[in-house]
Symmetry: C2
Subunit: 321 residues, 2 copies
């Protein structure tokens, strides 16, 4: 495969977002097209029409292979790619992609993973592709992986197998509470602003959550109370402080629980980009973990390359902290 | 004071609800008027106009004393009744009611309570009146009181003083998650239905929460996963089961944390009515507590009577389980 020549259209098709990268033979992104066409748009406009629109924007030839991960493979998606069950070999996932019938395009969809446990059932769609990218480069052994987001995932990998994973409602709860709960008065417009990972209020909330991760329901109300009593509590008042406190409380609770059975110092691979990478990086460091950060978008592309062509997924820049 | 003759208009004026009881000298309700006129209606229509409308519905003479508890005394309310600070004598609360100026009516508003702690600031408005009703009848000593609701309160009383209290966002989170989160797909229309306190799914979720109250963020997502994997997990699927599981997870987490430092068996006074009393009663019993239940509405009336006229607040029926 030649550098600079497109060999794959790599697509992450989620509930509320469509992203396509045109990749060359070394997995480098030559061009990108993204839009708000999530699952609903696919169902209303037709999945093929949405995909063809984005391919046309980048003048992609019709014969180029397309590999899609994410919710497009769900029961509500284009073609259902049934969940692979735990414990799951990542090679098995790559081997069970589902070809989309009835189109002149060469489209395959990556299956998700399911944990069919009665005590703690769980599912993922999209993150499995990032895991494939991680392990394609790694030696055998154990890895703890944190993939933060709307529904953060913590994964236990061993020898290229997913042994276990747990999802946390962290990101969705942050958005919900800032928009719809009584805390919206305290956060005002600051819920969508980027929380500063070095803000002492954020760091203080992290440490409180580490010390008492079971106290979440009470901690949430105390953010409102701090707002009401604001003038008398100094730095705790103000919308930015409320957002930092909420973010620290939620992320700190997730990290404390996810690391509670790990020997210290825990080694964690963090798959994240931008502000999310900075906040989780700060939280993991505050918890004493040794963190290796991998860019989330590059992991998606590298995973889709590995699924399309097998073998090693090059080009995952790692940053150790 | 004569039985059957009205001596007090007792009002609970909350964020989204107005309730007025006409009470005789023994604290019995002769008539009741309620409506959706919460804080916003008071501000838009005028607090006095809303109150006079409800008084007129019950043909209450203008000279009858009116005592109001709840958000009408907040900064956004009719007249601010500043928070009394912890530790707070319940007699001090009764003694610091604020008379409403500028009206021909005899109206007084009960102050709320505030905990000005930097680690866990907290506030209440309305529940202090129910506490006054409880302690008016009780001998000196320690009481643990649970007042469930949108923002559940757990209170530590000692010798007619509020030593400490903690609010939990339990009820609001249940409503939010059922209406706005990804769990709305799993709960469908069942979020507003009454969860059965004897439902094995509710009881199972309680016990899981008791065993791991720090696992809330993960437990929430697993309700969605159970819905997605439904067909394969038997009884866990279905909207009613999802609602029971969410309710058990949230209430169980609150109860586990609130009782974690109590010697067993904990003695808890539960101030609640209707379905809420049944669910929290079941949760407290499942946690091994000895529960005495007091009807929440009767506690409001008895507390307002005690505030208006001092002395003992008769007529609090207690049911021990």
């Amino acid at each position: 495969m030649t550098a600079g020549t497109p060999v794959l259209a790599a697509v992450d098709w989620g509930t509320s977002r469509f992203r396509l990268w045109l990749l060359d033979g070394e997995g480098r992104a030559l061009a990108q097209s993204q839009g708000p066409e999530g699952l609903d748009a696919g169902r209303n406009l037709g999945f093929e029409a949405v995909l063809r629109d984005h391919l046309a924007r980048l003048s992609v030839p019709e014969a180029l292979p397309v590999v899609i991960c994410g919710m497009a493979g769900s029961h509500e998606g284009w073609v259902e790619a049934p969940y692979v069950q735990l414990p799951a070999s990542l090679d098995a996932i790559a081997g069970t992609v589902v070809a989309v019938p009835g189109t002149a395009l060469d489209v395959r969809i990556v299956p998700g993973l399911a944990k069919r446990s009665e005590a703690a059932p769980d599912v993922m769609r999209g993150e499995e592709t990032q895991l494939i990218a991680l392990t394609a480069e790694e030696p055998a052994g154990r890895m703890r992986v944190c993939l933060p987001g709307t529904h953060s995932k913590w994964v236990e990998l061993r020898d290229r197998r997913v042994e276990d994973f747990t999802s946390y409602l962290t990101g969705e709860l942050y958005a919900l509470l800032g928009a719809h709960s009584i805390l919206r008065h305290s956060l005002a417009g600051a819920a969508d602003a980027q929380v500063d990972p070095e803000d002492p209020v954020f760091l203080d909330a992290l440490h409180r959550a580490f010390a008492g991760p079971e106290l979440l329901l009470a901690g949430l109300f105390s953010i409102r109370a701090a707002g009401l009593l604001g003038g008398l509590l100094g730095g705790l008042a103000g919308a930015e402080a409320a957002a930092a406190r909420l973010s620290g409380l939620l992320i700190g609770t997730e990290v404390a629980v996810a690391l509670r059975d790990e020997a210290a110092p825990a080694a964690v691979t963090l798959v994240a980009s931008g502000g999310m990478a900075r906040l989780y990086g700060a939280a993991l460091q505050a918890a004493g973990a040794v963190v290796t950060t991998v860019d989330a978008d590059r992991a998606v592309c590298a995973g889709l390359m590995a699924i399309a062509f097998g073998g090693r997924a090059g080009g995952l820049a790692r940053r150790q902290a």
